[in-house]
Symmetry: C2
Subunit: 522 residues, 2 copies
């Protein structure tokens, strides 16, 4: 852990200087860049092969190079060496590959300046090509399965449709073969899907889901566990598992899925994808198999922010709500961070710092009572289980072996929930919503998308159950409050992706998607 906390105000001053440097670099503002490096013979600037020593040599190099490659911050790690000295690592995306910059910043009477820097870059390892042909990812594929309008803002994009969403002429399987066997042919596309098709997207196929969408791991004992191309040997997360795996492997560009308790945000986090859970009700849910109607939300996954933003605007339709504008701040809660593993929390912190620098929004700490997440998660699970049972209980009573034991147990828990328990849970949810509304008036709340990166496929039912329980404490806040959530796939634990999740006020979906504008390649 960092050996010294910064003095009060140090971190803000450092990151302000760091942000000035980043903007000056992108603008090739030589005077500003030179001013942010310490003068003198001892200042160092190293790149791939060699080091330049001396501020004058560094300035001459900058003047001659004609600008640095365009880059976007993905993770900024700050390590405090002591008061007035910090080591800052910036990981970036560039048009060609990834980039990396480490700097020693020192504060003297002139302010924060760089005394030593090291820059490098390289290609990012591509996905496992075997993932493209994975049979556990797709239930049905075409070339395309359904052609879109042939033109429009989404022209050429291939959609992996979660097997909860109606595709005209096909059945909805819900990840349960016994259900599929008796499901009717759909007469029309679900309205959400129709919007994507009208905007030019094609349906590449119907992607697998966890059984009745009642899991977060992406494991399905009937169809198998889709390959996670961004984290080989690990689960993809679910329940929008096939959609996420297809987008991660590059066999689709957009995943159309649902998120009740995190079923877009979790596979987004595990597979390194941008994920958007819209405001509850902002996207039509007709034609989509429900799990818990108080919380179900139809949304998207994509490999890059620009695609997600474009498709998100299409999915919101003609009435995307009233813009609320940019927030005043990015909010961070120690209570929520500590629900994640320490290394996940550090990874998400690095992503949050990058987001703060890229947007110019300060990070402000907010208080969340230590016992609140457990309370709101329990309330959520009560209502979710009751509603899930109301939808699928009759089928499961008639087909007792249709789903695996762990999913069956979740449904049976819903059978046992009585009306007073639901009413009590709804009171907790109402107070949570009121509390979160106050919080989100101060800024947008940033938290880990999941409590860990993707688990090993061999983790087994106990491992999966523990990960689900930990992650639900993070994901169910947005679900029960109906607020929109955006998952940014910027964290890394070792080489594994993990998401930073941003919550905005209800209805602020367009503003949340607009956040993506400054953050990556268009």
């Amino acid at each position: 852990m960092p050996q010294d906390l910064p003095l009060a105000g140090e971190e803000e001053g450092l990151l302000t200087a760091f942000g000035r440097y980043e903007r000056a670099l992108m603008a090739d503002d030589l005077a500003e860049l030179d001013a942010l490096f310490a003068p003198g013979h001892a200042t160092l600037r190293a790149d791939g092969a060699t080091a330049l020593v001396g501020a004058d040599h560094i300035a001459a190099y900058r003047a001659a190079r004609g600008g640095a490659p365009q880059r976007w911050l993905r993770r900024v790690h700050v390590r405090w060496i002591g008061p007035g000295d910090a080591y800052v690592v910036a990981e970036t995306d560039r048009v060609a590959g990834a980039g990396l910059q480490t700097q020693w910043w020192h504060r003297d009477e002139e302010g924060w300046r760089v005394r030593a820097a090291h820059v490098s870059g390289g290609p990012v390892a591509g996905p496992d090509p075997s993932a493209a042909a994975d049979p556990a990812t797709w239930r049905l594929r075409g070339e395309p399965l359904v052609a879109g309008a042939g033109s429009g803002p989404l022209h050429g994009l291939r959609v992996a449709v979660k097997d909860l969403v109606a595709v005209a002429g096909q059945r909805v399987g819900g990840g349960v073969p016994a259900w599929l066997a008796q499901a009717p042919l759909e007469e029309a596309h679900a309205p959400a899907l129709q919007r994507l098709l009208d905007a030019g997207a094609d349906v590449a196929g119907i992607a697998q889901t966890d059984e009745f969408a009642f899991s977060l791991m992406g494991v399905n004992e009937h169809s198998g566990t889709p390959v996670n191309a961004r984290a080989p040997g690990r689960v993809p997360g679910g329940s929008s598992s096939g959609s996420a795996a297809a987008v991660a492997a590059g066999t689709a560009d957009l995943g159309l899925g649902t998120d009740t308790a995190g079923s877009l945000r979790v596979p987004g986090s595990y597979c390194g994808l941008y994920a958007w859970r819209p405001t509850h009700g902002a996207v039509p849910s007709e034609g989509v198999m429900p799990l818990a109607e108080d919380f179900d939300s139809v949304g998207l996954l994509a490999r890059d922010g620009a695609t997600l933003r474009r498709a998100g605007h299409v999915l919101l339709g003609a009435d995307p709500g009233t813009p609320v504008g940019r927030p005043e701040a990015l909010l961070r809660s120690r209570t929520l961070s500590e629900l994640a593993s320490p290394e996940t929390a550090l990874a998400v912190e690095a992503a949050l710092t990058a987001l703060s620098v890229a947007t110019g929004l300060p990070v402000v700490d907010v208080d969340v009572p230590a016992d609140a997440p457990a309370r709101w998660t329990a309330a959520f699970r009560t209502v979710q289980a009751a509603q899930a049972w109301s939808h699928h209980g009759p089928f499961l009573q008639a087909h007792p072996d249709a789903v695996s034991p762990s999913v069956a147990a979740r449904f049976r828990a819903g059978e046992a929930v009585d009306a007073p328990a639901v009413a009590a849970a709804r009171e907790v949810i109402a107070s949570t919503r009121a509390w979160l509304d106050v919080v989100l008036a101060q800024g947008w709340l940033c938290l880990p998308s999941t409590s860990t990166p993707a688990l090993l496929r061999e983790a087994g039912p106990d491992g999966f159950e523990a990960a689900r329980a930990g992650t639900l404490q993070l994901t169910t806040l947005a679900s029960q409050c109906g607020v929109p959530a955006l998952g940014l796939p910027w964290g890394r634990v070792g080489e594994l992706p993990v998401g930073l999740c941003v919550l905005a006020p209800r209805g602020a979906d367009a503003d949340l998607l607009a956040l993506l504008e400054a953050l990556g390649p268009a």
Copy 2:
């Protein structure tokens, strides 16, 4: 400049730990490498594209990679952040290109450990190809001009012979066309050259020299200034200018030249070459045009240390002197460092640190009185001028326009030196030799090869004269004491090479060349 000096003993402790790390890296000693990184989630290790966060992830990466590429330290820059914290930059040569490592080291109760590291690498920019065909470099070329023995330890190596050295069947031009016009054909190779030929080397050609070798810049108004392939737009240094330029451009592998006041060490420093000035008299000087016989030494230039070592052993012949073994320490003098420009001194310090880590020899400071270099340089110049006049005075009196005005002025200064002045200078030289013998009994003395890197070709006579005067204070110590000197081309000022010069006791040439064994590719 570093903001804080280390506490007493800090630098030694840091560099001991750094040396352990380097050896463990080369041996792929995972336990030692892991022990030298700080434990915990916050420790960082970044390479070309991405950062690993957490000591466990770093250890797992190391365990999986199967060893790091072989590398040799070239410059190690230490910047003190404060007591117990240092930023260390290591620049390395690797089989394929150059490498770079920056680390933040922190000392706690467990000792010095790395908290953050960044590794990168890349190709080194090659020489300017136009340098290969440079007409100012060669007076005469063949393919080869003289074939060697056809086998032997130097088989296949091409020698650029300075135009002071007799090549059988050719004339010695001495860089002066009027001299060349009346010079006789040589009947035999100079014995030093014969040794190289007998060992299998070929003569690629006769390389240009400064006029009668009486300059250090590599500028010749008759034949032009050879292109410096390692420092485009800059002089190559002299007087072994053509030999150095040919080796730097890759049109020869060995430069056979002479060093009276630095004529191998200076072009070695300016052109980024390994340079060896042997103990006075250790290599036969028969058949080589003299400049000042008290100081003249026949030696070598090469692009890599292994070639220099191999050829050096050949040049020393059957009786290479009595080995004295490795020194106890590397000696450093603040007085001598301060004779170089501040950035040259810093560059040479980084090279010395690399040499210390690579050899395991400590760096020990020695006292040199501040006025000593001026005194010994004046004495040297007096004797040099007198001897130079005795050799070339008669010719120059008969051919008053044969050399350029600045060189002519140097010779005329010798005409004015009388016998009592020479005797007084020889007393100073004798006391300098006695003093240096005591110093070199403690270790080998390390100093900048030149006071700056190569000057711009446009620097002009005044600029060249100032650079010569500054550099003579560094180079004439070895010359007047007759000790061997090895120039290591490891320093960099901006992108320009500059040499680190190591002086050893008289006769310790084989030991000095043996130093090269651990320092680079064989």
